[in-house]
Structures are given as C-alpha cells and as structure tokens.
C-alpha cells in the first residue's frame, strides 16, 4: 500500500517536473537566477530589467552547447 502511494507520488512529481522543466534543467536554473538577479538589483535601487534576458541568454547558450556537444 505504502509502496503504491510512494510510486503514485513519484509519478505525479515526475510528470510535473517533465512538464515544467523538460529536457534540460539549465534553462530553469538560468531563469530562477535571472529573476533573483533582477530582485537583488531592484532592492539595491539599480536599473534591473536587463539582468533577466542577459542571464537567460547565457543559460540558453550553455544548454545549446551541451546539446550540440553530444553530436
């Protein structure tokens, strides 16, 4: 019974992980870091809008570099 419930919870978690994060976690990490960077710059009263696109471009680049390296 407990094993069945654990399996169901794990499957549910895996579904949402796959649905949201997808093939490569690098992008999700870059987005979270980007948003944290914006919040930190805003708290320091520095213009912050540029930080998110800059950090996700780096994350996307890293993710693509890893994907193309496999070929």
């Amino acid at each position: 019974m407990l094993a069945t419930i654990t399996k169901m919870i794990r499957s549910f978690g895996m579904f949402w992980w796959d649905f949201i994060v997808g093939e490569d976690v690098t992008i999700a990490i870059a987005v979270v870091l980007g948003l944290a960077g914006v919040a930190a710059l805003h708290a320091a009263k520095v213009t912050a809008w540029w930080a998110l696109p800059v950090i996700w471009v780096l994350g996307l680049g890293l993710s693509l570099a890893r994907a193309t390296k496999k070929h």
């Binding site: 093939e23 490569d24 992008i27 948003l35 914006v38 912050a48 930080a51 996307l60 680049g61 193309t68």
Partner: protein
C-alpha cells in the same frame, strides 16, 4: 485593441494550433485504424477535463495580486518558451530532426493496428484503447495550452480573449483535419513552434522581470522591442550553430582521407 492584446491573441492562437496539430494527428490515426466513435468520445472527455482545469484555475489565478502573479507566471512562461525556442534552434540549425507529422501519423497508425482488438468493449465508445489514446492526446497536448490561456489571460485581465484565440485555433485545425482526414503535414508546425517559442520567451521575460520589481523602459510598449530582439538573438545562434555543424561535418569527411595519406 492595444499591441499587447494583439500579441496575446497571436501567442495563444499559435501555441494552441501547434498542440492541436499534435493531438489531431493521434486522434485521426486512431479514428482511421480503430474507431472514430471511440476516438471522438476520447476527444470529448479530454475537452471536458481541460475546460474544468481552465474554469477552476482561471478565477483562482486571476485573484492573485499582480506582481506575485507576474513573477510566477513570467518564470513558468519563460521556462516553457525557452524550452520551445531551444528545440526550434536545434531543429533550424540541423542538430535535431524536424518534427514530421507524416512519420508521427505512421507511427500512431502502426501502434493502433498492432494493439489488435483485445481491448474492445461496450464502454468508451466501444474501444477503450482508441478512447484512452485520444483522451490522453487531448489532455496532455492541451494542458500546456490551458496553462498559456489562463496565465496570459489573467496577466492581461482578458481570459476570454485568450480562450477565444485557443478556440479559433482548434476550429481551424479541426477543419483542416476533417478536410484531409490524414496527417496534417501541410501545417508549418516547425515554423509555428519557433514563433511560439519567441512569443512565450518575450512575454515571460517582460512579466518575470516586472514581477521581480524591474520597470521596463516604455512599459508595455517595450514588448515591441523585446520580441524582435529575441528573434535576432535566436537567428544569430542558429547561424553560429549551423556553421559549427557544417565545419564538424567537413572535418569528419576530411578525417579518414587525411588518415590514409598519413
């Protein structure tokens, strides 16, 4: 209608069209090989589940204060959008095979035929296999669309417009499917996916940064700059990756010949 509402309609329409093509490919393959009745029952049940999700989530999400909503929704849209964009860039640069609806249709048809008749029964339109396959296709492909409709609509305070865009896309794709009764390979799915990746990434960047406290120069009008900027960055990345792949192929082709002369 202001420009952000136009972009909202286009993004919801295109995202829904892409997912509708993929779901329709499964539904038609199952309908042709197994049972149209069971397949359409599966579609109906899937649409009811998706409508319930939108009806439940829509008002709940709309009641969240704007800044936290934009932060969470922006983050999720950006992760989705960059995932779509990543695949689109890999496809455009030749590192990933283009999505082929003919191949997907052939695969689904073969699987449906191979499943035989062991699971036919009185419930689910007479064929539980066909029902389940069509139901799963509609719910799984539609979940992302439901999320896009609810979040885009809530952020723009216009869920009906986002839902209308999704409905229009479904009607267009279903009309095409009824006409061809086969794989929807004429729909430029790979190009649409690229466009959706650009739009989701743009909205995600805009809303995410605003939710985290930033103010964009020009407010909503900055989207007019963000969208082409992301498009240009993606074109540049595609060009670099394409050249990198061609160079690697040339080196691989030259490698064995050099080995022989050495």
């Amino acid at each position: 209608m202001n420009s952000s509402l136009v972009f909202l309609f286009i993004a919801a329409f295109l995202a829904c069209a892409v997912e509708a093509v993929e779901a329709t490919t499964v539904v038609v393959a199952v309908g042709v090989t197994r049972s149209w009745r069971a397949s359409l029952h599966g579609v109906g049940a899937g649409v009811v589940v998706l409508a319930a999700i939108v009806a439940a989530l829509g008002p709940a999400i709309a009641s969240i204060p704007l800044n936290p909503l934009r932060l969470v929704v922006g983050a999720l849209l950006l992760i989705f959008g960059l995932g779509w964009l990543r695949k689109a860039v890999l496809r455009a640069s030749g590192y990933k095979a283009l999505h082929d609806e003919d191949a997907a249709f052939a695969k689904q048809t073969a699987a449906a035929e191979a499943a035989g008749s062991q699971r036919r029964g009185g419930l689910f339109g007479g064929d539980s296999y066909a029902f389940t396959l069509a139901f799963k296709a509609v719910v799984l492909e539609g979940l992302e669309v439901a999320f896009i409709v609810v979040t885009f609509g809530a952020n723009a305070h216009n869920i009906p417009l986002a839902a209308l865009a999704a409905l229009c896309a479904i009607l267009v794709i279903v009309a095409v499917a009824i006409k061809v009764r086969g794989p929807l390979s004429k729909v430029p799915e790979n190009t649409i996916k690229y466009a959706v990746g650009i739009l989701l990434s743009s909205f995600g960047t805009f809303w995410g940064a605003e939710g985290a406290g930033a103010r964009w120069p020009g407010s909503d009008a900055s989207l007019i700059g963000i969208i082409p900027a992301i498009l240009l960055v993606s074109f540049a990345v595609v060009a670099v990756l394409r050249r990198q792949r061609e160079r690697a192929e040339q080196l691989a082709a030259a490698g064995p010949a050099q080995g022989v002369t050495a």
